[in-house]
């Protein structure tokens, strides 16, 4: 498991060495639907999943604690 995680972050590091996209080239990246987080209205969906499912975390939502959920 640890090896897999390290592998993922190594791959991520590889991509970070790509040529940088300039600010003036970020029109498409800055589209509101391209954000890498979830929208505020999506919090309720994430919350009910944290209650109804055993898995949580790595999605910007709850990871455990602070609620009566698992």
């Amino acid at each position: 498991m640890i090896k897999r995680i390290l592998f993922c972050f190594l791959i991520a590091g590889y991509f970070s060495s790509c040529t940088a996209v300039k600010e003036y080239e970020k029109v498409k990246i800055n589209d509101p639907d391209m954000v890498l987080s979830t929208k505020g209205v999506d919090r309720f969906e994430t919350n009910f999943q944290a209650y109804r499912e055993a898995a949580a975390g790595a999605n910007g939502g709850k990871t455990g604690g602070g609620c009566g959920c698992n």
């Binding site: 972050f9 589209d31 505020g40 499912e53 790595a58 602070g66 609620c67 698992n70």
Partner: protein, 428 residues
């Protein structure tokens, strides 16, 4: 000539000192959701019984720019629910025959969870370093939680790359509420002499004598550490990776969830089977979740948003989550959001269905949230955006409206519907 030179000088100075505010104006989000679910595997009645539940969650989030660099966010949420299964903590209300498939009218049939979270964030002058601190308080009738945490985010590579680290601690405390028929068997209780058993006849095994030991812990501490990495991969593609590691200690079971053993004779009052015990789970749990997002800008109309997560913990649960959403822009102001999500998990080592546990086991639960299952979720949403904020409410201009609906179904039979809406206002 001279005035032009002065003008250029002033422009040069202002460019040197100008700093775009992290948040231009105060923003207020009014959010709400309505959730309802149906199922026949209630954990309160040992894996058999109605799971009917409704939940309404009004929420207000206010983000206030304190200066050019600092933002204070106050998040207040109230979650009011009615639950048929929770009502059966005490199914003997005298109104109707006690039955795990019929809601009772007791005090536990509804409750309100209230949360207040304050987050303070500070950005460096070049906006490449962001610090934040968070304090959260939650309360429910049988539950209190104090949470705090912090995060640090670093942007570099011309803001193409972002790494972050966050840590959170939640200190939760439960007021232990046990199934009604077990309470007379707590240490010092009067057992079958209790008025419950004088008011109702026990059928099946009439010598009901559960070996019930009250829980010795009422606290739950959760410690989480998160790492994040995001990268712009091209003018149209960006992705992120997230890792969350969580250690939980203390009371990790729910005190009012019943378990029925197959090696113990069954006792009933009316149609309701009396508990053999409450669920028992280890007082430690270590979780790891790794997730990745990849978003691709197809063209001016379509964007593709994808997500995958792998989860594992030391209770034996492994899980996969994959989702896809395709925002579709319709004109200048509307965007449609069709989505699909798949989820699966293996069962916890301590899970078994109704009447399949043995009383000799150390840990046991019949909570189907810890069972093996897969789930499909279908969603659709609409967003209205007005960048000119033409509609006003007092001094606030309406920036956007979001409405989303999701239908969720498990292969265990549980189904859920959730509709959520959000209104974002910006102070003029």
């Amino acid at each position: 000539m001279i005035s032009t030179a002065v003008g250029f000088a002033q422009e040069g100075d202002s460019t040197a000192t100008y700093k775009k505010r992290v948040l231009e104006n105060t923003e207020v989000d009014f959010l709400a959701s309505y959730y309802t679910q149906e199922g026949d595997n209630a954990a309160v009645s040992g894996g058999v019984g109605t799971e009917h539940l409704t939940n309404v969650t009004p929420t207000v989030v206010v983000s206030i720019p304190l200066n050019a660099d600092d933002v204070l966010t106050i998040d207040g949420e109230v979650s009011a629910y009615t639950s048929a299964s929770s009502s059966n903590i005490n199914p003997f209300d005298g109104n109707k025959p006690a039955d795990p498939f019929v809601a009772s009218s007791g005090a536990s049939s509804s409750d309100t969870w209230t949360n207040l979270t304050g987050t303070y964030s500070h950005s460096s002058d070049d906006r490449n370093n962001i610090w934040s601190a968070k304090l959260a308080v939650s309360t429910e009738y049988d539950y209190f939680s104090l949470g705090f945490g912090g995060s640090y985010t670093k942007l570099f590579n011309e803001k193409n790359t972002e790494v972050s680290i966050n840590a959170n601690v939640y200190l939760d405390n439960w007021k232990t509420i046990y199934p009604f028929e077990l309470r007379p068997f707590e240490n010092g209780g009067n057992g079958l002499n209790n008025s419950l058993f004088r008011s109702y006849n026990i059928t099946g095994n009439q010598n009901y004598s559960p070996d019930f030991v009250a829980l010795d812990k009422t606290n739950r501490n959760s410690y989480s550490l998160g790492l994040g990495f995001s990268q712009i991969l091209s003018e149209r593609l960006q992705g992120s990776l997230a890792l969350d590691v969580v250690q939980q200690q203390g009371l990790l079971s729910t005190p009012f969830q019943r378990v029925y053993f197959k090696d113990v004779e069954d006792s009933f009052i009316q149609n309701f089977q009396l508990a053999d015990d409450i669920e028992r789970l280890p007082d430690n749990r270590f979780k790891i979740a790794v997730g990745g997002r990849l978003n691709y800008y197809i063209n001016e109309t379509f964007v593709l948003r994808s997500y995958y997560r792998y989860y594992t913990d030391d209770w034996g649960i492994r899980s996969n989550t994959a989702s896809i959403e395709m925002p579709i822009k319709v004109g200048q102001k509307f965007t449609l959001y069709p989505s699909y999500r798949y989820y699966d998990q293996t069962a916890a080592d301590y899970f078994a269905p109704y009447e399949e546990h043995l009383s000799t086991e150390e840990f046991y639960t019949s909570d189907y949230d810890l069972s093996e299952f897969n789930a499909n979720q279908y969603g659709f949403g609409v967003t209205y955006t007005d960048i000119f904020t033409q509609f006003h409410l007092w001094q606030f201009g309406l920036k956007s409206i979001d409405v989303k609906y999701h239908y969720y179904e498990r292969n265990t039979g549980l189904t859920a519907n959730i509709i959520a809406a959000g209104f974002k206002f910006v102070l003029d």
